[in-house]
């Protein structure tokens, strides 16, 4: 079964080698890797999708795309929380990692045309939302009011600070909050759902994209729904254990849902009942 490198008919379970083109530190424990194919064709991910990233000899983890490169490059923002993510964050420029994907459903950026869009991010949840924000701003005229609500632990934990400023200039109403601030922090201190109070949008024609820790999503969607946004126009991105990405390993079940196959992006009304059952 030995095949010539580059001539493999690789199935979806075989990671394709990619080279780290750039590596940058976002926060104390979070890094962004920019990858390019080591050979062969690249892949074409969409906002909201994820890849399975392999550190050869160590393991594999699901990581969302945190930017959609225009030149075939893949961008992932990774927090060091385990053996594989630690190795990924440590992979230097020129190092090799494996990529399988893209997998999963997407933020319905195109379907939201004509609507007001509220993007709400908590912590690392900003990473899978960045491609959605970029896509919205690329067609700024196609949407009504565009709002970003973003909460993090401290000002130093906010991802992509330069882009947040740039986005403000491109017509995105950016509201930031942290759990605790210092004198130099002039934005808000509070929970991300509280930011909704500051924001004007036409609830009936609003589409919301929400991503963050599960509790943050529950509370934020609750606040959105209270403001009149409908649950089926509110999308969340779920995180569950994933081993295959293709619906075959059984790990990512949430009741009737296979998160990798049916998600990770779901309209809230499809998942809220299942999320409400503890330890499901």
């Amino acid at each position: 079964m030995v095949a010539e490198p580059g001539h493999l008919e690789a199935g979806p379970m075989v990671p394709q080698p990619h080279v780290v083109r750039r590596r940058s530190r976002d926060t104390a424990d979070t890094w962004t890797l920019e990858l390019e194919p080591a050979g062969g064709a690249g892949i074409d991910p969409q906002p909201g999708q994820f890849a399975m990233l392999t550190v050869y000899g160590v393991g594999e983890v699901p990581i969302s795309f945190s930017r959609i490169g225009t030149d075939g490059s893949l961008v992932h923002t990774i927090r060091d929380v385990g053996a594989v993510t630690a190795e990924l964050c440590r992979t230097p420029r020129g190092g090799t990692v494996g990529v399988r994907g893209p997998f999963g459903t997407t933020w319905p950026v195109d379907d939201a045309a004509g609507a007001d869009v509220v993007v709400a991010a908590g912590g690392l949840g900003m990473a899978p939302l960045r491609p959605a924000v970029e896509a919205l701003l690329d067609r700024r005229d196609a949407y009504g009011r565009l709002t970003l609500l973003y909460g993090a632990r401290t000002p130093g934990d906010l991802l992509y600070p330069e882009e947040l400023e740039e986005w403000r200039g491109r017509g995105l109403d950016v509201h930031l909050t942290v759990d605790a601030g210092t004198r130099s922090w002039l934005e808000r201190v509070g929970f991300v759902s509280e930011l909704l109070k500051d924001v004007a949008f036409d609830a009936e024609s609003t589409v919301a994209f929400v991503c963050g820790p599960e509790v943050m999503m529950r509370v934020t969607v609750g606040a959105l729904v209270e403001r009149g946004v409908t649950a089926d126009c509110t999308y969340v991105s779920l995180e569950r254990s994933m081993s295959c990405g293709v619906g075959h390993c059984g790990h990512c079940q949430l009741g009737p849902i296979l998160v990798c196959r049916d998600g990770p992006v779901f309209p809230w009304n499809e998942v809220s009942g299942w999320l409400a059952v503890r330890e499901l």
Binding site: M1, G11, P17, Y56, G59, T96, Q253
Partner: protein, 378 residues
Amino acid sequence: MQMTRDFVITLDGLGELVAGLRNRGYQVVGPSLRDGAIVYDELESADELPAGWTEIHDPGAYRVERRGDEARFGFTVGPHSWKQFLLPSRVRLWRARKNGEVTELEEEPPPEKPFAFFGVRSCDLSAVAIQDRVLTGGRYVDRDYAARREGIFVVVVDCAEPGRLCFCTSMGTGPAAESGYDLALTELLDGEHRFLVRVGSERGAEVMRDVPHEAASGADNETAEALVETARSSMGRELDTEGLKEDVLANLEHPRWDEVADRCLSCGNCTLVCPTCFCVGVEDTADLTGEVVERERVWNSCFSLDHSYVHGGAVRQSGRSRYRQWLTHKLVTWHDQFGTSGCVGCGRCIAWCPVGIDITEEAAAIRNGKEGVSDEGS
């Protein structure tokens, strides 16, 4: 589908059938007695079938016993199922150089010869069809499974004597197979020891050409039908599937889950013996030099904490939630995920549970407590 008239073959014919399949290049796999259990293994001849043996199943108990006759298929199902061959417990997915250069692509090479599964019970044939849907019926096809599955020759054996834990009639999977086989046998022990053969495919008909046989008489057919009918009405267990989905989902917080969790050891035996359980994980390893790395796919169980691990902790921390996941998946959410039940009624999980937890009993208890609980729980 009846492609030709049914045949009758003798014990010699059975031997010829195994030989004929081997001559055609199949690796014939079927039941044989080993270590006090009836297991599936390669058969070199029909002489290796567990002649004269039967099985006694009870919750948490399994043993083999001598029969008063020389029946070749006088038992039902042991600890093995055909997933051992189609979805092996450990398979190498790929091997690569440390720098990611893939030098060898997976394929724990698929078996050199296609399988002939000899003596497949109807419930297990349904289990294969269920795994087909899971692993090949969606957007992505599991290449290793598909390679192993490709071209298998299936010889079914209808059940005449269900075990004490069998409930295939409840699940609509038995006791006789109606399609999906190449040949189907019914063992006839009245008078001369013989087998009624139904042909289910062209391949089946072709194989039968070299096996000495006679045309089945009307009486043979009637005997066979009567045996299956008797089997149908003598199931050891029953599981009422009518409205089961709604009832289980309305009772996700039923106290019965706590009770069963007190008994459940979270050992995962039920998932190992289940012919449809498909959960797998991967293990990455490097050789001593660190230069050559590989990934293996291994069976996982939803009874392990690791199964639902997301950074920080497992979603399903309690034994209660893990048992609930397993039962709910089998009987309810499998339908949503794959358009079929995940349970075929073979009863293996009951026999091989060290504490004898009975899925039919648990399902009945869970659904019976719907009042009061669903109000609070939802």
